[in-house]
């Protein structure tokens, strides 16, 4: 694999051809927030928090969907970028009803974390206070649309890793909503395998295990890499009539 050299925050770094900017940036130990992207899922470029500044054109590009290229020079934390990231977080907090104090993910929520990291101590915009439902018809899980930030990690993991494609998005703009099947109650979904991957990748308290109450929900992302690795190494392929699985 060919090696490329580029500049991140005035430092020369090298990476592999075809590597995403985001992974190269993170390899340097630089923290870059991503609320829609999750390692192991297809990059989407929707939350716009991982935008970086191209030094040559001053244009902003999402690090998750941009490929690192020879000779590129970028800034990851310019004054403008930090200001915009804060504004985006404010927009997200104002969009739906994120009341951290009474959330299952209080203390472990990625949205809450990013706000604290960047120092977003209040929201300058109107709270939109939309009227949104919950769906607790599933045996094990529940979704609270009030806390959904429409990152669509659930849609992505359900489609590309579980292969069920139970989740999708309906509506548009600020009225978009993630749905199960053709907007049927989750509990009645015949495509849902109840695997729970969507719950684990959800960055906020929108998707949670039933029965967990304030600050009780713990999510694990590491399963994703575990499955993808196993799949790549064909660890679940049956040999000699028996399973040589990882377990």
């Amino acid at each position: 694999m060919a090696v490329i050299t580029m500049t991140i925050n005035d430092e020369l770094v090298s990476g592999v051809e075809g590597q995403s900017l985001l992974s190269l940036i993170r390899e340097q130990g630089i923290e870059l927030p991503t609320l829609c992207h999750l390692e192991g899922l297809e990059a989407r470029g929707g939350c716009r928090l991982c935008l970086v500044e191209m030094q040559s054109t001053q244009r902003l590009l999402p690090a998750c969907t941009t490929t690192a290229q020879e000779g590129m020079s970028i800034q990851t934390h310019s004054e403008r970028l930090v200001r915009y990231r804060r504004m985006i977080l404010e927009l997200l907090f104002a969009e739906r009803n994120h009341v951290c104090a009474v959330c299952v993910m209080n203390g472990r929520c990625e949205l809450q974390d990013e706000a604290a990291k960047i120092g977003m101590d209040h929201v300058r915009y109107d709270y939109l206070v939309p009227e949104l439902p919950m769906d607790a018809t599933h045996d094990k899980f529940a979704i609270d649309h009030n806390r959904c930030i429409l990152c669509t990690r659930c849609v992505s993991v359900c489609d590309s890793v579980e292969g069920a494609h139970t989740w999708d998005v309906m509506g548009r703009g600020v009225n978009s909503r993630v749905i199960t099947d053709l907007n049927q109650p989750w509990g009645s979904s015949r495509s849902c395998t109840s695997c729970g991957k969507c719950v684990q990748v959800c960055p906020t308290g929108a998707l949670a295990n039933k029965g967990s109450t304030v600050a009780e929900m713990v999510k694990r992302h590491d399963f994703l890499q575990w499955i993808l690795d196993g799949r790549e190494k064909k660890q679940w392929v049956m040999h000699n009539g028996g399973s040589e699985g990882r377990r």
Binding site: T66, L91, L92, D168, G171, R172, G173
Partner: protein, 573 residues
């Protein structure tokens, strides 16, 4: 069908046309149809039959003639005479036209729209040359005006490289709004590695008040197909898609018919004009999403996915439909291909300015005396368009602004009326060429209110994928609402401006990136109007009702008012 068959068909049709003494052209485009053109055409046909004129007079339903606000339009073509345009034709005046003009050679004076009006004289019709002249549903009409000759010429005399070079040389730029050089794009797709390639015509025209593409598709569908086929030959594609806005049923119907006819005659499909080149065109109908006019969202829609944009790069020229190199151009861009191949790049480049060649179609709307669809040479001034072609603003009112480019565009004030209409000059004013929407506003319009209208449009049409566009447009709309209802605080103006720049610079696709333009451009030229709303709570144009008060003022006034009223004004928050 071979090239010689084509020529034979053209001759037969011309002979037939010359054999008729009189042709009555009746516009059958959406604007005229909506003002009663169908009954006018019936009346014309009935009058012809009643007067036993069937042998010498034909009634032809055509595409758009231009002055849409004066429709239904009828053109009388009498052998040996100049064409006569009739406006606001009713079934009664239609009978009158047949009885007096056709039979007695006495034109119906009070219904005539003089052909030497600047409305016609200042136009330069390249793309719309056939519009309003031919029957869009008859292949023979198109062929009689050299239809498909350019395709035949390209297939026989030119290599794909030469076609791309000719388009590059003409200086044609994308008519969808951004103005990317068309020849360059074609060449990129031609050179892109890949066995399968696609051509897409973007007919998902969505700007409020704009209908250039609809008119072209309704009035001259074969020109579009021929342009796409030439493109297919030039870039090496065998499949084309025509993405037609769902709200354009007549356009879709006529295109469908044109495709079937062309396929039957061997002008599309396998072995076009008996050459080794095959090209198929399929129609895809949009489902009412403005964002599907954005190329990556449009391609997602064609592939049957949710109409949402994806980040570029990769550009469609590298990886488009099903990851294959894809050429995507606006319908009007394709409308320019046939004349360029037919008359040559130099002929085309002789029209327009140094950097913007050819003509541009505009949908002239708003407060001018004549609205309609016009095609003007690039570089014409806004003043000529409004005062000469549009006949000026109505008496008693004065010009205030011209809005170009719809929800992605901006407003141009009176002091810039002499700006030439080309890509660069309009951009320098914070407006854009756009796809061709041109709305004229007089002093009865309130600019913050106009900005609010476009922002509301964007909040409705945002797909919801990226945060700045999805939520930012809603927040900007809220502030504009406060400004126009009197409840904005002075700080709101800065918050609005900051949101504008942020949404512009961080949104994923063109919709979000350009959504703040109407606000920024009105702030640039009409800032005092915003300030009047916020500081003095008055709307200088008298449009906004200003029924609310700022929260901070309410804070002082509210407890007192509640004690007085014994109830809460529900307007707070």
């Amino acid at each position: 069908m071979k090239r010689s068959d084509l020529q034979a068909m053209a001759r037969r049709e011309l002979d037939r046309q010359q054999a008729t003494r009189c042709r009555l052209l009746c516009c059958a485009s959406t604007p005229c149809l909506s003002s009663g053109a169908a009954t006018v055409q019936q009346a014309l046909e009935q009058a012809v039959t009643d007067n036993k004129l069937d042998a010498e007079v034909v009634v032809v339903s055509t595409g758009c003639m231009g002055p849409c606000s004066r429709g239904p339009m009828v053109t009388v073509q009498l052998a040996g005479q100049e064409d006569t345009y009739y406006e606001n034709v009713t079934p009664e005046s239609a009978r009158q036209i047949v009885a007096e003009h056709v039979m007695a050679n006495q034109p119906v004076a009070d219904k005539i729209m003089p052909s030497d009006l600047p409305f016609f004289a200042k136009q330069h019709k390249i793309v719309l040359a056939n519009s309003g002249v031919i029957d869009p549903e008859r292949l023979e009409d198109y062929v009689a005006r050299d239809g498909y000759a350019a395709l035949a010429h390209a297939l026989r005399e030119m290599t794909p490289e030469e076609v791309c070079a000719e388009i590059s040389k003409s200086g044609l730029r994308g008519r969808g709004g951004a103005g990317y050089p068309t020849g360059l794009k074609w060449d990129l797709v031609r050179k892109a590695p890949g066995e399968k390639k696609y051509v897409i015509a973007n007919g998902d025209e969505g700007d409020p008040g704009a209908y250039m593409d609809r008119t072209l598709m309704e009035s001259d569908p074969h020109r579009l197909l021929e342009g796409m086929a030439i493109a297919g030959y030039a870039v090496g594609a065998e499949q084309g898609f025509l993405y037609v806005r769902g709200e354009y049923p007549i356009a879709a119907k006529r295109l469908e018919k044109a495709i079937r006819t062309a396929e039957r005659r061997g002008l599309l499909g396998s072995r076009v004009l008996e050459s080794s080149f095959s090209f198929r065109i399929d129609i895809r109908i949009g489902a009412g999403a403005f964002v599907c006019g954005e190329e990556t969202a449009l391609m997602a829609s064609i592939m049957g996915r949710r109409g949402q944009p994806t980040p570029r790069p990769p550009y469609p020229a590298q990886s488009g439909l099903w990851e294959c190199p894809t050429l995507i151009n606006n319908v009007e861009t394709f409308g320019n291909i046939v004349p360029i191949i037919a008359h040559g790049a130099d002929w085309f480049a002789s029209v327009g300015t140094a950097k913007s060649k050819g003509s541009k179609i505009f949908a002239l709307a708003g407060k001018v005396n004549t609205t309609g669809l016009i095609e003007v040479p690039m570089g014409i001034t806004l003043r000529e368009v409004i005062d000469d072609i549009g006949g000026g603003v109505a008496d008693g009112f004065s010009f205030k602004a011209a809005q170009t480019g719809g929800p992605s565009g901006g407003c141009i004030p009176a002091e810039h009326l002499d700006t030439p209409m080309d890509y660069e000059s309009l951009r320098a004013l914070g407006a854009i060429m756009g796809s061709g929407g041109l709305i004229v506003m007089d002093n009865a319009s309130c600019m913050p209110d106009v900005a609010k209208f476009f922002m509301e449009f964007c909040t409705d049409e945002s797909c919801g994928k990226c945060v700045p566009c999805r939520v930012g447009t809603v927040q900007m709309h809220r502030i504009l609402e406060r400004i126009t209802n009197g409840s904005a605080a002075p700080a709101d103006l800065q918050i609005l401006q900051d949101l504008c720049t942020m949404v512009q610079e961080t949104s994923l696709c063109g919709l979000g990136q350009s959504a703040p333009n109407p606000v920024l451009s009105t702030l640039r030229f009409y800032r005092e109007e915003y300030e009047a709303h916020i500081q003095r709570h008055e709307c200088p144009a008298g449009v906004c009702k200003m029924t609310e008060a700022p929260t901070l003022e309410l804070v002082e006034a509210l407890p007192r008012r509640i004690r007085e009223l014994g109830t809460i004004p529900m307007s707070l928050a």
